[in-house]
C-alpha cells in the first residue's frame, strides 16, 4: 500500500513540475494561479487568448535557451525547428502572430513583471523578482 502511495505521489509531482527545466510565470497583478498544459499549448500555438476570463499573451525565450527547448518539447509537443516551421505556416496562412521572443531571462522577467496579461517561462533556478510562478496542471 505504501508503495502505491509513493507511486501516486511521484505521479502527482511529475504532473505538477513536468520534470522540465522551466517555471511558468505571470505578473503579480495577474489573477492566474494555475494553468492546464492544454491551455498553455493552445496559447503558444495562437489558438487561445483568454484563460479563465483573463486576457493573456504568450512570450517565448530565445529558441537556443534550454528552458525554451524544454518548454516547447514538454508543453507544446514540438521541437524548436517544428515550432518555427509551425509559425512560418501560420504566417503564410494569414493566421495569428507568433508570441514575442525575449532574448534573455532578465528581459523575460522584466517584461512579464510590467505586463499583467503576459505569460512566460524561465529556467527553474531563475530568481522570480516581481513575478510569480504558476502551477501547471
Amino acid at each position: 500500500m505504501k508503495k502505491i502511495y509513493l507511486f501516486l505521489l511521484a505521479l502527482c509531482w511529475a504532473g505538477v513540475s513536468f520534470g522540465g527545466d522551466f517555471v511558468v510565470i505571470v505578473s503579480k497583478d495577474c489573477p492566474l494561479a494555475s494553468v492546464s498544459t492544454t491551455d498553455l499549448k493552445r496559447l503558444y500555438t495562437g489558438k487561445l487568448e483568454n484563460i479563465d476570463g483573463t486576457s493573456v499573451s504568450g512570450t517565448n525565450l530565445s529558441m537556443d535557451n534550454p528552458a525554451a527547448v524544454s518548454f516547447l518539447s514538454e508543453i507544446v509537443g514540438m521541437a524548436t525547428t517544428d515550432y518555427k516551421s509551425f509559425w512560418l505556416a501560420q504566417q503564410i496562412r494569414g493566421g495569428s502572430t507568433a508570441p514575442a521572443v525575449k532574448k534573455s531571462v532578465s528581459d523575460m522577467i522584466s517584461y512579464v513583471k510590467d505586463n499583467a496579461n503576459a505569460v512566460g517561462y524561465v529556467p527553474k533556478d531563475a530568481a522570480l523578482d516581481g513575478v510569480k510562478a504558476v502551477e501547471v496542471k
Binding site: 483568454n50 512560418l88 496562412r93 494569414g94 502572430t97
Partner: protein, 435 residues
C-alpha cells in the same frame, strides 16, 4: 425630414465612436504593422517523346525553363488585437495571359488526295482572359491574392470582409512554397481548380474546444468563382470548412470543406430599333438582350487529413466537383481529384532538415465534354501525376526542392492522341525563401 437627418447623423456618430473605441481602448504594445512574404524560383525540364502532344505546349516541351514563380508580399496592419487588415500581393515574372502555341501543318498522302496545308500558324495566344483581379503587364503579372479586414470579437466570432483564399483542404490556404512540400501545389488546386482559389465576400470563423480536441469552423458568403456578377440574391455562393484537431500522434487533423455556387457570364447586346416618323425625325427604342455564355451550378465537397508521428507525415485530400451545366440543358459533369503524400524527416537538426517525399495524384473528369471549361480538342478521362523528391530546408526560411515528376494523361477512347503520346516525365529544382 429633420428627424431622418438626425438619425442618419447619429448613425455615423455611433459608427465613429465604435471605431474609435475599437482602435484605442484595446491598443496593445505588439507590432502593429508587419511586412513579410515568400519568394521562389524554379528550374524545370520535361522529357516528352518527339510525338508527344506536349511537344507543342510551351513549358511542357523539351526546353529547360527558369521561372520566378512567386514574389508574394504580405502587409498586416493590426491597430489592436481585435482589428486586422491583411493584404497579400503576388508578383510573377511571366505574363499570365500569353502562351506560345505551336502551329500545325497538315500533310495528307492518300491514293485519292495529296495535300499540304504548307502554312504553319504559330502564335502567341491569349489565355486566362476571363480571370479577373489580375493586372497584366508585358513583363509579368500582379494579382491581389487576398485583401481583407477582420474583426476578432472572441474565440467564436471573427468576421472578415474582402477577398479571401477559399478555406478548403490543406494546401489551398497554406499555399506558399516554404510550406508546401512539393514544387507545386497538387493540380486540383491549380490547373483543375476544383474549389475556387479565392473569392470576394464575407466570412465568419471561430474555434470550439472539446476537451483536448480543437474544432475550428469557417462559413462564408461570396460572389463565387472568378467574382461572378450577381443577377439575383440567390446567385450568391456559400461555403465553409470544419477542421478537427485531435490530441493523437504528433498531429492528427481531419477536415471537411464544401462550396455551393453559380457561374453566370452573360453577353449583353443593345438592340436599337429606329422608326422613321418623317424625313427628319426618327423614333428609336433600345432594348437590352442577354445571352448566356457560361451558366452552371456547382457543388464542391472535400475531405482532408494530415497525420504526423515519428517524423513521418501523411497527408491526403479528396475533392469532388458536381456541375449542372445550364447552357447544355442542365447536363451533369464533374471532376474528382485526390492525392496522397508521404514525407519523412530523415535528418532534422536546428538549422537543417532533409525530407524525402512522394506524392501521387489522380484527377478524373466525368463527361468532360460537358464541362464549362473543357478543351474540345483534348478531351480526357483524367490524369495521374507522381511527384517524388527531396526537400532541403535550412534555418526554417530557406530551402531547395529537387523533384522528379511524371504525368500520364488518360485520353477518352475516341481520342486521336495515342497512349504513348500522353506521358510527360520531367525534373525540377526550386529555391524558396520566406522573409
Amino acid at each position: 425630414m429633420k428627424r431622418k437627418k438626425l438619425c442618419k447623423h447619429s448613425g455615423y456618430t455611433v459608427f465613429l465612436i465604435t471605431t474609435v473605441l475599437i482602435t484605442s481602448i484595446f491598443a496593445q504594445t505588439q507590432e502593429k504593422f508587419q511586412i513579410y512574404g515568400f519568394s521562389d524560383m524554379t528550374i524545370s525540364k520535361c522529357f516528352p517523346k518527339e510525338n508527344s502532344f506536349s511537344y507543342g505546349v510551351d513549358k511542357m516541351d523539351e526546353k529547360a525553363n527558369f521561372s520566378l514563380d512567386h514574389v508574394n508580399l504580405y502587409t498586416s496592419f493590426r491597430p489592436n488585437k481585435h482589428v486586422r487588415f491583411l493584404a497579400e500581393l503576388s508578383f510573377q515574372e511571366s505574363p499570365v495571359n500569353y502562351n506560345n502555341v505551336a502551329g500545325t501543318r497538315i500533310i495528307m498522302n492518300s491514293p485519292f488526295l495529296n495535300s499540304d496545308s504548307v502554312y504553319t500558324v504559330a502564335e502567341i495566344k491569349a489565355k486566362n482572359r476571363i480571370q479577373r483581379g489580375i493586372t497584366i503587364f508585358e513583363w509579368g503579372s500582379f494579382s491581389v491574392e487576398r485583401a481583407m479586414m477582420s474583426l476578432n470579437l472572441n474565440r467564436y466570432w471573427n468576421f472578415s470582409a474582402g477577398k479571401f483564399i477559399t478555406p478548403a483542404g490543406v494546401w489551398n490556404v497554406d499555399h506558399g512554397s516554404p510550406v508546401i512540400m512539393t514544387i507545386s501545389q497538387p493540380t486540383q488546386y491549380s490547373y483543375a481548380e476544383i474549389f475556387p482559389k479565392s473569392q470576394i465576400g464575407i466570412m465568419e470563423e471561430g474555434k470550439i474546444f472539446l476537451g483536448d480536441a480543437d474544432l475550428s469552423y469557417v462559413v462564408y458568403l461570396s460572389s463565387g468563382r472568378d467574382n461572378q456578377s450577381l443577377y439575383r440574391p440567390t446567385d450568391l455562393s456559400v461555403g465553409g470548412q470544419v477542421r478537427m484537431n485531435l490530441p493523437l500522434l504528433d498531429e492528427c487533423t481531419f477536415g471537411l470543406s464544401g462550396y455551393r455556387g453559380k457561374a453566370n457570364i452573360k453577353l449583353r447586346e443593345g438592340v436599337i430599333t429606329m422608326n422613321t416618323v418623317d424625313f427628319v425625325t426618327f423614333d428609336s427604342k433600345t432594348v437590352y438582350e442577354d445571352s448566356n455564355v457560361v451558366n452552371y451550378h456547382e457543388k464542391v465537397y472535400g475531405i482532408d487529413m494530415r497525420l504526423r508521428k515519428y517524423n513521418l507525415t501523411f497527408q491526403s485530400e479528396l475533392n469532388y466537383q458536381d456541375i449542372d451545366n445550364n447552357v447544355l440543358n442542365g447536363a451533369k459533369t464533374g471532376i474528382f481529384g485526390n492525392y496522397y503524400m508521404l514525407a519523412y524527416d530523415a535528418y532534422k537538426k536546428d538549422n537543417l532538415t532533409l525530407t524525402p517525399y512522394g506524392l501521387f495524384e489522380y484527377v478524373k473528369y466525368y463527361d468532360e465534354e460537358k464541362h464549362p471549361n473543357a478543351n474540345p480538342y483534348a478531351l480526357r478521362e483524367g490524369y495521374r501525376k507522381v511527384m517524388a523528391g527531396l526537400n532541403i530546408r535550412a534555418f526554417t526560411n530557406y530551402g531547395i526542392k529537387l523533384e522528379y515528376n511524371f504525368t500520364r494523361l488518360l485520353m477518352q477512347d475516341y481520342s486521336t492522341i495515342k497512349r504513348d503520346e500522353c506521358d510527360i516525365p520531367g525534373v525540377g529544382a526550386q529555391f524558396y525563401v520566406a522573409f
